[in-house]
Symmetry: C2
Subunit: 305 residues, 2 copies
């Protein structure tokens, strides 16, 4: 997690991760039109190319002010092979621009299968004397429903390959409480999961006091955020739910320590679609995204002590 | 779920799904060698081709005696783009042979993102007047940690596109109880999740009395299987954990109704690696898989009333 924290500090203490969840409706029409025409019958390639052009311009406009990007795998998988090529290209491009890449895949499975997922996203695929990395993010998100069997392979690879893992604890969506808020002997499930995540990272606390095993904690549930922060002092938080989903800067601030560290706040639609609000032209979507990121940074700075 | 049940009945009431989780170590060396040599520097393609050759021979030897196959996405994702092309080819080949294809992806996310995943695996990707299916299985597995927001898009697409969904309820792995067995007001989480899944499928119960929303319930926990069967009479079970993981035929039998319906039992390693036990030669891996499937069928038939 030190790598991420250093990038946050380097970018003038900006704890923002820009979500790259490019729905085709978010991409300005002139890009879609051009890429679709160029691709002809191979329209899925055209669509994927449009997503990549969109991502590239966003990255070009953001890389010097934000430390990280978070592609959401679903929006690439839905374009099949072409979408996944776009995902790989997006990860590589962000990497080249010095960004920390957090790939939001929310995988989770039994031990042997979790190993295969971890190999795909954090480790190396090996056949005989050949080896290669299939996808190359700095971190992934994982789902804890199957218990620690399904998490340990990711933690092991994180340590071995200098990566991080973020485990879902309290998610930002409206129905997250259906399971996560249920109480077991007076303690909600999200706290139980918080303790599990904390224990998983206990051996890997790094220089800044945070472990390689982070937690996903939504900005939309400030009370739970407060409880989890005090329960998990060595766990770095990935904070979704800011902006479009309703989370506010003061809610996010609850995750931070007295140094102004402890979490990174995601904004996807807010940044990607900034050009759709106000007087921006479609061609200015990159500048609009930059402007929104700067405004978000100010809003967070005003709330984080 | 009728489609799956009809295929089970058609294949002489054989409730077996063959897992296609092709670790490269499972593939006979002569196939790996040949494919790797042919691919030259493009060794990931060579490895993926070896997986496909392995799958194809398994399917050729199984398609007339089992109703379904279950590729596990992780084992394809770990070979990157080439692995995902192999996954698409495997799905198409199994489809052509008349098999029901259950893709084990265990996806789960907030509403909007769950929609994108569902589009990728059950629905259609649409851009302007173009549309296509990216991956073409008959069903997928999903993870309920985020609550019903993350499940409903899959159910909606299942109804619209004549597909099915299997939600993780009680998984087969050793640590599954860490979260799933916790008790809320005296009721274990897996029962809470069971009720949620049951309710999600209530509007879509089909002719055989089972809904489009199935549940994953491991053979390794017979007591929980019994409880869930009585709690969820209209839910079809996908039953992992048979064989290598320790689940027995008599444990699986607990999921079935008086007609001999109600579940489908997965075997992955047991069938794929059958040739590694006994006097089989590596070239006979297909015949060995067929023999193991026949033995498994007999074992299940002896236990299911």
């Amino acid at each position: 997690m030190d790598k991420l924290i250093e990038k946050i500090i380097e970018k003038d203490n900006t704890p923002i991760v820009a979500g790259l969840d490019p729905k085709i409706d978010y991409v300005p029409e002139f890009i879609v039109k051009e890429c679709m025409e160029k691709a002809g019958d191979d329209w899925q390639k055209g669509a994927a190319d449009a997503l990549f052009e969109f991502n590239r311009t966003l990255i070009d406009n953001l890389y010097d002010i934000v430390p990280a990007v978070k592609p959401q795998s679903a929006y690439y998988e839905m374009y099949g092979i072409e979408g996944l090529i776009c995902l790989q290209k997006t990860i590589s491009y962000a990497e080249k621009k010095g960004l920390y890449v957090l790939l939001d895949v929310k995988r989770g499975d039994i031990g042997a299968t979790a190993e295969a997922y971890s190999t795909a996203y954090l480790g190396e695929t090996v056949v005989g004397d050949k080896k290669a990395r299939s996808f190359t993010p700095d971190a992934v998100t994982v789902n804890p429903y199957l218990g620690t069997d399904g998490l340990k392979p990711f933690v092991k690879d994180a340590v071995r390959f200098d990566k991080d893992v973020f485990v879902l604890v309290k998610t930002s969506n409206p129905s997250s409480g259906e399971l996560q808020d249920l109480k077991v002997d007076g303690m909600p499930i999200y706290e139980k999961m918080g303790s599990m995540v904390s224990a998983l990272g206990a051996d890997n606390v790094e220089q800044y006091g945070y472990s390689r095993v982070g937690a996903v904690v939504g900005a939309t549930y400030p009370q739970q955020m407060t409880e989890l922060r005090s329960l998990m002092p060595n766990t770095f938080f990935l904070i979704p739910g800011y902006g479009a989903q309703g989370g506010k800067a003061e809610d996010c601030a609850l995750a931070f320590d007295e140094r102004g560290l402890g979490g990174i706040v995601n904004s996807s639609r807010g940044i990607m679609c900034a050009y759709k609000k106000g007087d921006w032209k479609p061609e200015e979507f990159g500048a609009a995204a930059r402007c929104e990121a700067i405004n978000m940074k100010e809003a967070l700075k005003n709330c984080i002590k």
